[in-house]
Amino acid sequence: MIRFDAISFRYAGDATLRLSDVSFSIDEGELCLVVGPTGSGKSTLLGCLNNLVPRFTGGVRAGRILIDGRDTTLLPPRELATTVGYVGQDPLAGFVTDTVEDEIAYSMEQLGFAPAEMRRRVEETLDLLGIADLRERPLRTLSGGQQQRVAIASVLATSPRVLALDEPTSALDPIAAEEVLAIVSRLVRDLGTTVVIAEHRMERVIEFADSVLLVGDDVRHGDTRTMLAGARVRPPLVELGSKLGWSPLPLTIREGRRAASEQRRAWMERRPALPTAPPPGPPALTGHRVTVAYDDHVAVDGVDLTLHRGEVTALMGRNGCGKSSLMWALHGAGPRRSGTVTVHDGAAVSLVPQTPTDLLYLTSVAAECAAADDAAGVEDGTTAELLQRLVPGIELAAHPRDLSEGQKLAVVLAVELVGNPGVVLLDEPTRGLDYAAKAVLSEIIADMAAEGRSVLIATHDVEMVAQTCHRVVVMAEGELVSDGPTRDVLAGSALLATQVAKVANPIPLLTVEEFLDAR
């Protein structure tokens, strides 16, 4: 269905090749998962499918691409509208019209479909993606998962043979992500659409995937299990399976539980010793009956929360359940209708917002660092030094917008940490980070806690929470619904459990290391 023939790509004025001599072919009806670290060229590769790269990004591309037997190398993206459906990371940024129905019809309007045919297809697409009850809703009022489904619907209406999805779930909470991925797998099964999907949290997709395209220094394509056996980054379940030599390598929780059944029985007889969280330090920040209300709704409803020194706390919950509002209220920069926030021992509080780039406005990393030194009243070069310690190798002369997501986050963290805050609030820092960047972030967070700072992280990433956090707080509808040690909260929940926890259930083990140690 898709054949890449010796594709190379580089940006104009840059000698390094982003893709170098890439050749592979994907069969019809295949779901191909594209895996690789940030900046390895996953998005570039997906863009090549409908020639957005290089038509839109600029740059030089060599080689040939055949889709559905047709040489598409030289066609502009609009000529491929009925062949390749492309959905980007942020659905809202790609919406052209303002209601669901119009958005789905847009592509067909452009291609001159007959009105009757158009009407029929809109209805079909609405039903196919289960969004018929949203048909007249304005796009902006939809939740993230609904928006992503509408975005997929809008490219599916012209029934393309190939669907390219560039990290469709990176901004979604676990449940919304499930929704979207379930739809994708249904498309593959029911319609035979060929799907190429890039996804950081591959544990979500791996069970549907027929093949994996590994993007790194070179690009390799092959069967899921074979490719994963040799991959550097893998989902926890696969990691566990390969460490314990399970064969075949488990891809689904079901396979994992079967392979681990003997181990679980042994544990049931003699419960393993579990590592315990260190006792929390003295309180660093106390929120008492914090309430945040906007014109039409109450975002945070009388929340009591105490953060302790040296403790890392995760704040979890659906999109829109009030996590951000609570963070901003605790920091003091956001609105607070009632309640009190007490910061103990005069510690400074700093907050890294969801879009960290909002805080960066100077033209180079060096200038940002100097401004931070100036604002904090510390010696010149302190921030730059801190940044190098956090993430070595960031070009100081680079423009902040040119950095990868992980690097941007590191710059903002350095800028915030130079003021020596006692409490650090991170609003969804893991968004758009790959495994390597997340590992670095985990280390930074652990260091911050070791220095006696109190850290609160809002995130959807259960694996990261299991690795780094001592305590988990779950919010729903503006209220705290559970608050306790990570092990109790995650292992006891059906939706928040990590892959390893699901395999080890009812033994509350959360991570691969814990599983291996407990044997």
């Binding site: 609009r78 790609g94 052209v96 309007e109 479909f113 009105p115 920069a333 909002d358 805080l359 406005y361």
Partner: protein
Amino acid sequence: MTTNPLLLAALIGVVITVTMASRGSTPWGRSFSLYLWLALFIVVLRLAFRVLFGAGGPTVLLDLPEVPLPDWVQGIRLLGPVSLESLLTGLYGGLQLAAIVVSVGAANSLANPRKLLASLPGAFYELGTVIIVAVSALPQLGESLQRVLRARKLRRRHAARRRRDRLRAVETIVVPVLTDALERSLALAASMDVRGFGRAAGQSRSARVSLLLGMLAMGLIGAWAFRFMARSEDVAVLGVPIVSTLLLVAGLGAAVLALRASGASVHRTQYRPIRWTADESIVLACGAGAAGIVGWLAAGDARVLDPTTVPLVWPALTPLLLVAVALAALPALVAPAPTPSRTAP
């Protein structure tokens, strides 16, 4: 057209009734109250000006002391006696403006700008797209501005003391907002291209035909305009100047054909276009009928429409005017109700 306060008040009432009856719960639909406040403000302002810069009249209501002004502002009087006549003139004029504002507001809150643009002839499609994109970019710009302003509170806690600091403050807001807007527009352009925007456009032959027709239209209308300005001699048949009329008709015809031709080169269709039905015709007839009656009256007895204030005459509503008002109010009853949302918002 009229300064008859009774007629104006009745018309404003009619417009409000019709709008309330048929507007939807869309954002632009909700903007109507804004126009009502503006209209009220205009009337109050006109009256206030009449009191402040009082004009004379026989019936003095309130004898305010006049503020003495130097010679060089001759012709302007500050305060002084307030007469009933000058107040009424202000009220009539204010009502007139208010009626216009309310009507514009009604049109604005009844029509969906997107649907309106989608109904434009094919030749204007690109222009329509530009406007739609601009319209939807505005709230996004507001959102990113809000976000950046909020994020700013996290950094730079020290107050801006020097002028340079204040300039820096502007920079810290403008730079992220503009970068954001730029990134968004690029994403939108890519998305439109991916989904086939512009694929059907530009078949060279009909493009050339429409260009030729367009130039012809401009030439013909230019010639007509020249003759009109220069008041050239013309052959008149039955009181109609033949040459000028022919030029005008031919020019307009060519313009319509040019639009047709360029529209035909675009193979684009519209999803669920608005259909012109009997309801639409009735509403249009009601409006035209009311306007016709008032126009016919204006041609005849203008005193009904423009009651004098000096000497003071109580304005009257003749039966014919009442018919016009009733006709204008009819759409509130006969116009189709706004399409109820099939899903709960």
